[in-house]
Symmetry: C2
Subunit: 131 residues, 2 copies
Protein backbone atom coordinates (compact mmCIF):
# COMPACT_ATOMS: atom_id res chain seq x y z
CA UNK A 1 0.00 0.00 0.00
CA UNK A 2 1.12 3.51 -0.81
CA UNK A 3 0.94 5.16 2.63
CA UNK A 4 0.48 8.57 1.03
CA UNK A 5 -3.09 7.62 0.20
CA UNK A 6 -3.90 8.01 3.90
CA UNK A 7 -2.92 11.68 3.70
CA UNK A 8 -5.25 12.45 0.81
CA UNK A 9 -8.28 12.22 3.11
CA UNK A 10 -9.77 14.88 5.36
CA UNK A 11 -10.12 13.73 8.95
CA UNK A 12 -12.16 15.63 11.52
CA UNK A 13 -10.79 17.32 14.66
CA UNK A 14 -10.66 13.89 16.36
CA UNK A 15 -8.75 12.40 13.43
CA UNK A 16 -11.79 10.44 12.28
CA UNK A 17 -13.54 9.96 8.96
CA UNK A 18 -16.96 8.33 8.51
CA UNK A 19 -16.98 5.11 6.51
CA UNK A 20 -20.19 3.76 4.96
CA UNK A 21 -20.19 0.02 4.33
CA UNK A 22 -22.30 -1.27 1.46
CA UNK A 23 -22.94 -4.87 0.46
CA UNK A 24 -20.93 -5.33 -2.74
CA UNK A 25 -23.39 -7.85 -4.15
CA UNK A 26 -26.83 -6.48 -3.23
CA UNK A 27 -26.06 -2.77 -2.79
CA UNK A 28 -27.69 -2.79 0.67
CA UNK A 29 -26.19 -0.15 2.98
CA UNK A 30 -25.06 -2.16 5.98
CA UNK A 31 -23.63 0.30 8.50
CA UNK A 32 -21.66 3.46 9.08
CA UNK A 33 -18.73 3.66 11.47
CA UNK A 34 -15.62 5.77 11.92
CA UNK A 35 -12.06 5.14 10.82
CA UNK A 36 -8.84 6.90 11.63
CA UNK A 37 -5.56 6.64 9.71
CA UNK A 38 -4.55 3.48 11.56
CA UNK A 39 -7.82 1.62 11.05
CA UNK A 40 -7.95 2.65 7.40
CA UNK A 41 -4.37 1.42 6.94
CA UNK A 42 -5.28 -1.88 8.62
CA UNK A 43 -8.37 -2.19 6.43
CA UNK A 44 -6.35 -1.68 3.26
CA UNK A 45 -3.56 -4.00 4.41
CA UNK A 46 -5.77 -6.89 5.56
CA UNK A 47 -8.75 -6.49 3.22
CA UNK A 48 -11.07 -6.59 6.23
CA UNK A 49 -12.80 -3.55 7.72
CA UNK A 50 -11.29 -2.00 10.84
CA UNK A 51 -12.73 0.97 12.69
CA UNK A 52 -12.20 3.25 15.63
CA UNK A 53 -14.92 2.99 18.27
CA UNK A 54 -15.72 6.43 19.65
CA UNK A 55 -17.68 5.02 22.61
CA UNK A 56 -15.17 2.31 23.57
CA UNK A 57 -12.15 4.38 22.47
CA UNK A 58 -10.44 1.44 20.81
CA UNK A 59 -9.66 -0.11 17.45
CA UNK A 60 -11.84 -2.95 16.38
CA UNK A 61 -12.00 -5.28 13.46
CA UNK A 62 -15.59 -5.77 12.37
CA UNK A 63 -16.49 -9.34 13.36
CA UNK A 64 -13.68 -9.80 15.87
CA UNK A 65 -16.21 -11.07 18.46
CA UNK A 66 -19.02 -12.34 16.25
CA UNK A 67 -17.06 -13.72 13.29
CA UNK A 68 -19.19 -11.49 11.07
CA UNK A 69 -16.30 -9.97 9.16
CA UNK A 70 -16.44 -7.81 6.05
CA UNK A 71 -14.22 -8.64 3.05
CA UNK A 72 -13.42 -5.41 1.26
CA UNK A 73 -14.04 -5.40 -2.48
CA UNK A 74 -13.64 -1.70 -3.18
CA UNK A 75 -12.81 1.54 -1.34
CA UNK A 76 -14.12 4.85 -2.60
CA UNK A 77 -13.96 8.46 -1.40
CA UNK A 78 -16.35 11.28 -2.01
CA UNK A 79 -15.76 14.60 -3.77
CA UNK A 80 -14.71 16.36 -0.55
CA UNK A 81 -12.49 13.43 0.52
CA UNK A 82 -14.18 13.46 3.93
CA UNK A 83 -16.32 10.33 3.64
CA UNK A 84 -15.32 6.78 2.70
CA UNK A 85 -17.54 4.24 0.95
CA UNK A 86 -16.53 0.61 1.30
CA UNK A 87 -18.11 -2.09 -0.80
CA UNK A 88 -17.69 -5.41 0.98
CA UNK A 89 -18.88 -8.98 1.28
CA UNK A 90 -20.56 -9.36 4.68
CA UNK A 91 -20.35 -12.63 6.59
CA UNK A 92 -23.55 -13.06 8.63
CA UNK A 93 -25.00 -9.83 9.92
CA UNK A 94 -23.51 -6.33 10.04
CA UNK A 95 -25.53 -5.11 13.02
CA UNK A 96 -24.67 -5.94 16.61
CA UNK A 97 -28.42 -6.21 17.24
CA UNK A 98 -28.49 -9.22 14.93
CA UNK A 99 -29.88 -7.61 11.81
CA UNK A 100 -28.33 -7.95 8.38
CA UNK A 101 -28.09 -4.13 8.13
CA UNK A 102 -27.93 -1.56 10.93
CA UNK A 103 -30.58 0.40 9.03
CA UNK A 104 -33.43 -1.93 9.94
CA UNK A 105 -35.92 0.76 11.05
CA UNK A 106 -37.96 2.85 8.64
CA UNK A 107 -39.96 6.01 9.22
CA UNK A 108 -43.69 5.54 8.74
CA UNK A 109 -46.44 8.09 8.28
CA UNK A 110 -48.38 7.18 11.40
CA UNK A 111 -45.67 6.31 13.90
CA UNK A 112 -42.05 6.88 14.65
CA UNK A 113 -40.06 3.87 13.38
CA UNK A 114 -41.04 0.45 12.12
CA UNK A 115 -38.65 -2.49 12.10
CA UNK A 116 -38.37 -3.77 8.55
CA UNK A 117 -34.97 -5.45 8.52
CA UNK A 118 -34.19 -9.12 8.72
CA UNK A 119 -32.84 -10.39 12.03
CA UNK A 120 -30.25 -13.11 11.55
CA UNK A 121 -29.08 -13.80 15.08
CA UNK A 122 -29.81 -13.26 18.77
CA UNK A 123 -27.14 -10.89 20.17
CA UNK A 124 -27.16 -12.66 23.55
CA UNK A 125 -26.11 -15.90 21.90
CA UNK A 126 -23.28 -14.23 19.98
CA UNK A 127 -21.93 -11.69 22.47
CA UNK A 128 -23.24 -13.21 25.70
CA UNK A 129 -25.76 -11.70 28.07
CA UNK A 130 -25.38 -8.05 28.95
CA UNK A 131 -24.28 -7.45 32.55
CA UNK B 1 -45.55 14.53 10.72
CA UNK B 2 -45.22 13.48 14.34
CA UNK B 3 -42.60 15.99 15.58
CA UNK B 4 -41.53 13.59 18.33
CA UNK B 5 -39.76 11.51 15.72
CA UNK B 6 -37.12 14.25 15.55
CA UNK B 7 -36.31 13.64 19.22
CA UNK B 8 -35.70 9.92 18.79
CA UNK B 9 -32.41 10.61 17.00
CA UNK B 10 -28.99 11.25 18.48
CA UNK B 11 -27.42 14.46 17.24
CA UNK B 12 -23.77 15.32 17.80
CA UNK B 13 -22.45 18.22 19.88
CA UNK B 14 -23.22 20.57 16.96
CA UNK B 15 -26.77 19.26 16.70
CA UNK B 16 -25.99 17.38 13.50
CA UNK B 17 -26.58 13.86 12.26
CA UNK B 18 -24.99 12.32 9.14
CA UNK B 19 -27.42 11.35 6.39
CA UNK B 20 -26.45 8.92 3.65
CA UNK B 21 -28.42 9.27 0.42
CA UNK B 22 -28.88 6.16 -1.68
CA UNK B 23 -30.52 5.88 -5.09
CA UNK B 24 -33.83 4.11 -4.39
CA UNK B 25 -33.84 2.40 -7.78
CA UNK B 26 -30.23 1.34 -8.35
CA UNK B 27 -28.92 1.16 -4.78
CA UNK B 28 -25.98 3.43 -5.69
CA UNK B 29 -24.74 5.46 -2.72
CA UNK B 30 -24.97 9.04 -3.95
CA UNK B 31 -23.66 11.26 -1.14
CA UNK B 32 -23.41 11.90 2.55
CA UNK B 33 -24.26 15.22 4.16
CA UNK B 34 -25.41 16.49 7.54
CA UNK B 35 -28.88 17.28 8.81
CA UNK B 36 -30.09 18.98 11.94
CA UNK B 37 -33.58 18.85 13.39
CA UNK B 38 -34.82 21.63 11.15
CA UNK B 39 -33.46 20.18 7.90
CA UNK B 40 -34.76 16.73 8.81
CA UNK B 41 -38.19 18.20 9.57
CA UNK B 42 -38.13 20.06 6.23
CA UNK B 43 -37.08 16.86 4.45
CA UNK B 44 -39.96 14.90 5.97
CA UNK B 45 -42.47 17.70 5.36
CA UNK B 46 -41.55 18.39 1.72
CA UNK B 47 -40.35 14.96 0.61
CA UNK B 48 -37.15 16.55 -0.72
CA UNK B 49 -33.77 16.34 1.01
CA UNK B 50 -32.63 19.34 3.04
CA UNK B 51 -29.30 19.57 4.84
CA UNK B 52 -27.18 21.83 7.01
CA UNK B 53 -23.97 22.94 5.36
CA UNK B 54 -21.14 22.95 7.88
CA UNK B 55 -18.84 24.97 5.62
CA UNK B 56 -21.40 27.57 4.54
CA UNK B 57 -23.28 27.48 7.85
CA UNK B 58 -26.69 27.49 6.23
CA UNK B 59 -29.66 25.32 5.34
CA UNK B 60 -29.85 24.10 1.82
CA UNK B 61 -32.23 22.06 -0.20
CA UNK B 62 -30.34 19.65 -2.41
CA UNK B 63 -30.77 20.93 -5.96
CA UNK B 64 -31.80 24.47 -5.00
CA UNK B 65 -29.19 25.88 -7.43
CA UNK B 66 -28.79 23.02 -9.90
CA UNK B 67 -32.33 21.68 -10.03
CA UNK B 68 -30.89 18.28 -9.13
CA UNK B 69 -33.32 17.55 -6.33
CA UNK B 70 -33.82 14.29 -4.48
CA UNK B 71 -37.33 12.89 -4.00
CA UNK B 72 -37.39 10.92 -0.78
CA UNK B 73 -38.82 7.42 -1.01
CA UNK B 74 -37.81 6.12 2.41
CA UNK B 75 -36.06 7.30 5.59
CA UNK B 76 -34.25 4.83 7.81
CA UNK B 77 -32.17 5.08 10.98
CA UNK B 78 -29.44 2.80 12.22
CA UNK B 79 -29.31 0.77 15.43
CA UNK B 80 -27.66 3.59 17.41
CA UNK B 81 -30.07 6.20 15.98
CA UNK B 82 -27.09 8.38 15.07
CA UNK B 83 -27.05 7.93 11.29
CA UNK B 84 -29.84 8.41 8.75
CA UNK B 85 -30.21 6.52 5.48
CA UNK B 86 -32.38 8.14 2.85
CA UNK B 87 -33.49 6.26 -0.24
CA UNK B 88 -34.37 8.79 -2.92
CA UNK B 89 -34.94 9.37 -6.60
CA UNK B 90 -32.16 11.64 -7.84
CA UNK B 91 -32.81 14.18 -10.61
CA UNK B 92 -29.61 14.60 -12.64
CA UNK B 93 -26.44 14.30 -10.61
CA UNK B 94 -25.93 14.23 -6.84
CA UNK B 95 -22.39 15.60 -6.88
CA UNK B 96 -21.59 19.30 -7.22
CA UNK B 97 -18.63 18.24 -9.38
CA UNK B 98 -21.06 16.93 -11.96
CA UNK B 99 -20.89 13.22 -11.20
CA UNK B 100 -23.93 11.04 -10.64
CA UNK B 101 -22.52 10.02 -7.22
CA UNK B 102 -20.08 11.89 -4.98
CA UNK B 103 -18.20 8.60 -4.60
CA UNK B 104 -16.66 8.69 -8.07
CA UNK B 105 -13.09 7.89 -7.04
CA UNK B 106 -11.86 4.40 -6.21
CA UNK B 107 -8.66 3.26 -4.50
CA UNK B 108 -6.36 1.30 -6.77
CA UNK B 109 -3.43 -0.94 -5.94
CA UNK B 110 -0.84 1.11 -7.79
CA UNK B 111 -1.97 4.67 -7.22
CA UNK B 112 -4.04 6.78 -4.92
CA UNK B 113 -7.46 7.31 -6.48
CA UNK B 114 -8.90 6.61 -9.88
CA UNK B 115 -11.98 8.36 -11.23
CA UNK B 116 -14.53 5.71 -12.13
CA UNK B 117 -17.83 7.61 -11.87
CA UNK B 118 -19.93 9.00 -14.64
CA UNK B 119 -19.83 12.76 -15.12
CA UNK B 120 -23.20 14.15 -16.14
CA UNK B 121 -22.60 17.90 -16.22
CA UNK B 122 -19.95 20.60 -16.19
CA UNK B 123 -20.17 22.45 -12.84
CA UNK B 124 -19.25 25.78 -14.45
CA UNK B 125 -22.29 25.58 -16.69
CA UNK B 126 -24.61 24.81 -13.77
CA UNK B 127 -23.22 26.93 -10.95
CA UNK B 128 -21.28 29.52 -13.00
CA UNK B 129 -17.54 30.10 -13.03
CA UNK B 130 -15.75 30.16 -9.75
CA UNK B 131 -14.56 33.62 -8.73
Amino acid sequence: MDERVLDTLKYDAQGLIPAIVQDADTGEVLMMAYMNKQSLADSIRTGKTHFWSRSRRKYWMKGESSGHTQDIQEIRIDCDADTILIRARQKGAACHNGYRSCFYRMLEQDGPWKTVGERLFDPEQVYGKKA
